[in-house]
């Protein structure tokens, strides 16, 4: 049997292509795994094998053997793709085929990647378990009775399960990092404004960022470099060059962190702040911190008191922005229209369309956001939340005066069972406790695996100042390399690849 392309990192796939493998062979290998396992995992909303193979054939015919040419990729269904159905996990966009490409999708196309398909997600990226998808349940490859995280849970399940070598996710309050953490992947939320939002279906515009989800730190850096950088089509895009990320990851893997100052955030699982955190998670994180210290890093505890209010501020700001953003789904120009029978006026058709097209979590957030923005309440809720956002940024600035990076668990717990939190929004929101501060401050943050607790992956979060994404990659790569060396294998090698026979049962 030839090499298993679905167990390789992207850098290994690049070598395989250079050594004579074809994009068609790679694509076939992943399509085979999707056909065998996605009945169980439910990671994809849309796969078009013929289109993927046709695209791979074009790349092979062109003879391109450099960069990412011929590497398959999966995109979260929030990324608009020309001619490929895009739903954002919502019934309100069922059957819609976009007439243009998001910048992220266009850049991946230009780089020669092969689109495998569009991955499942919480509706409009609102959720932490992908259970808010209007279409299907997605399962965690480590334990199929558990959540794959969210909202980018289709992407995390696909990459961890070997149904894509890597994938694009989006992160508003943790939706790249949290699913990466609970499935044993590397996931990075870039500095706000450093990856174009053009063509991402908007949830909370001051927070949304697209980023890489991959099997290794270096792969994540390579994917980030391809999608990142200034885009005139996004007016919030930062007009500055990206830091060099893959090089930072390679340098980090050398394992020398001497001189690096690491701050452990007390408010995220430290003393007096352990409520809701699992012991196993805190133990793995403490071991990771000790490992960084053994690589030469100087570790100290840092206090960021305003982080305690991050969850409250986030669940005012994000729903407020969402209530405004989602007003565009009015049944007029695209997507679903309900009740247009000649007897109803526009207002009634709009209300019926939105009632049938949106799921419960989206409705809850629209109502909450409408409340927080309403006259008489705006100052007490939305205005106050924006001031808390300032306090959180100040805590980060004060901390970065003394340390180079801040670290914490990525999530308070390992993957929880499917169904465990669906009826309790507050419990669901708590999954984002550690990822929200960096989101609100617009800062880069990465999640990298740091071991297992009860047989399930634990994520370690590394946060850096704005535009210092390279620090996240450097430190994450150092941790990854040291752990791989101690283990004698890569983290994901602990996840047994299920055979087609098993999953067909």
């Amino acid at each position: 049997m030839s090499a298993d392309f679905t167990a390789m990192t992207v850098t290994e796939l690049q070598s395989a292509l250079a050594d004579g493998a074809t994009a068609t062979e790679l694509t076939e290998a992943y399509l085979d795994r999707i056909a065998a396992d996605d009945q169980t995992l439910g990671s994809y909303l849309h796969v078009d094998p013929e289109a993927a193979l046709a695209r791979a054939g074009e790349i092979d015919a062109a003879g391109e053997k450099t960069g990412l040419a011929g590497i398959p990729v999966a995109l979260k269904d929030v990324v608009v793709t020309e001619g490929v159905p895009t739903t954002s996990g919502s019934k309100i966009l069922e059957g819609w085929t976009p007439p243009y490409d998001a910048t992220v999708a266009a850049r991946l196309k230009t780089a020669g990647t092969v689109l495998l398909g569009k991955t499942n997600m919480d509706e409009f990226a609102m959720g932490s378990s992908t259970e808010n998808s209007a279409y299907q349940v997605t399962r965690n490859p480590w334990d199929t009775d558990r959540i794959p995280g969210g909202s980018s849970g289709g992407s995390s399940a696909a990459v961890a399960g070997g149904l894509a070598p890597w994938a694009i996710g989006t992160d508003t309050g943790g939706s790249i990092r949290q699913p990466a953490a609970v499935t044993g992947l590397v996931g990075h939320k870039p500095t706000y404004g450093s990856v174009s939002r053009y063509g991402l279906i908007a949830f909370s515009s001051s927070l949304d960022q697209a980023g890489p989800m991959a099997r290794t730190v270096l792969d994540a850096a390579l994917l980030h470099e391809v999608i990142g950088g200034h885009d005139p089509l996004d007016s919030t895009s930062i007009d500055a060059p990206l830091p060099v990320l893959a090089e930072a990851a390679r340098r980090g893997a050398d394992g020398d962190l001497s001189g690096l100052k690491v701050g452990v955030v007390r408010e995220l699982g430290g003393e007096g702040h352990t409520d809701g955190y699992e012991d196993g998670v805190l133990a793995r994180v403490a071991e990771a911190v000790a490992l960084l210290e053994s690589l030469g890093a100087e570790v100290r505890e840092v206090s960021c008191p305003a982080f305690d209010l991050a969850l409250a501020a986030y669940y005012l700001i994000a729903p407020s922005e969402a209530s405004s953003n989602l007003a565009r789904f009015d049944g007029v120009r695209y997507g679903l229209r309900v009740g247009d029978d000649g007897s109803r006026d526009l207002d009634e058709v709009m209300a019926l369309t939105r009632e049938q097209g949106f799921g419960p979590e989206v409705k809850r957030r629209i109502i909450l956001g409408t409340y927080a923005l309403s006259s008489g309440y705006y100052e007490a809720y939305y205005g106050q939340a924006q001031k808390v956002r300032t306090l959180i940024s100040r805590d980060f600035s004060a901390a970065y005066a003394d340390v180079d990076v801040l670290v914490s668990p990525t999530t308070p717990t390992v993957a929880f069972p499917l169904g465990a939190r669906v009826d309790d929004p507050i419990a669901m929101y708590a999954a984002d406790l550690c990822t929200l501060p960096a989101s609100l401050a617009g800062l880069p943050a990465i999640s990298v695996p740091c071991g297992l607790s009860e047989g399930l992956p634990v994520g370690f979060q590394i946060m850096a100042p704005a535009l210092a994404d390279d620090r996240c990659y450097r430190v994450a790569a150092a941790l990854e390399a040291a752990q791989d060396a101690a283990r004698g294998s890569r983290f994901l090698d602990q996840l047994p690849v299920r055979s087609a026979g098993e999953s067909a049962a």
Binding site: T97, P99, Y192, S235, T236, K363, Q384, Q386, L443
Partner: protein, 105 residues
């Protein structure tokens, strides 16, 4: 508007009012469900009121940026037929919409 009560409370009627403002034709079951859930969420988010924010400016955007301009150059827009193909209803090369005024108008 004045139908909203004291901060931190959301009654079933208030949820119905907010849903109307947001053009959501919610069902009775949803009203029952959401009123309870939103009260709990509101209780949690109301904690922002505890923050010491005297003289603190609000952050609307993490990256301060103003007046982003581009050259005023004509660029091709999406072809009309392509856009209309995605519309729920089209007629005479236009998007067809329901009437905007009620019967009584």
């Amino acid at each position: 508007m004045s139908t909203l009560s004291e901060k931190g409370h959301l009654t079933r009627d208030e949820v119905a009012h907010l849903a109307r403002l947001a053009r959501l034709a919610v069902t009775d079951e949803e009203l029952d469900l959401f009123a309870g859930q939103l009260a709990a969420v509101l209780d949690a988010v109301a904690q922002v009121g505890k923050a010491p924010v005297e003289d603190v400016a609000p952050t609307t955007h993490a990256v301060p940026m103003t007046n982003v301009f581009r050259p005023d150059v004509v660029r091709p827009s999406l072809p009309r037929d392509v856009v209309l193909a995605g519309a729920p209803a089209a007629e005479d090369d236009r998007i067809r919409v329901p009437r905007i005024l009620g019967e009584e108008a």
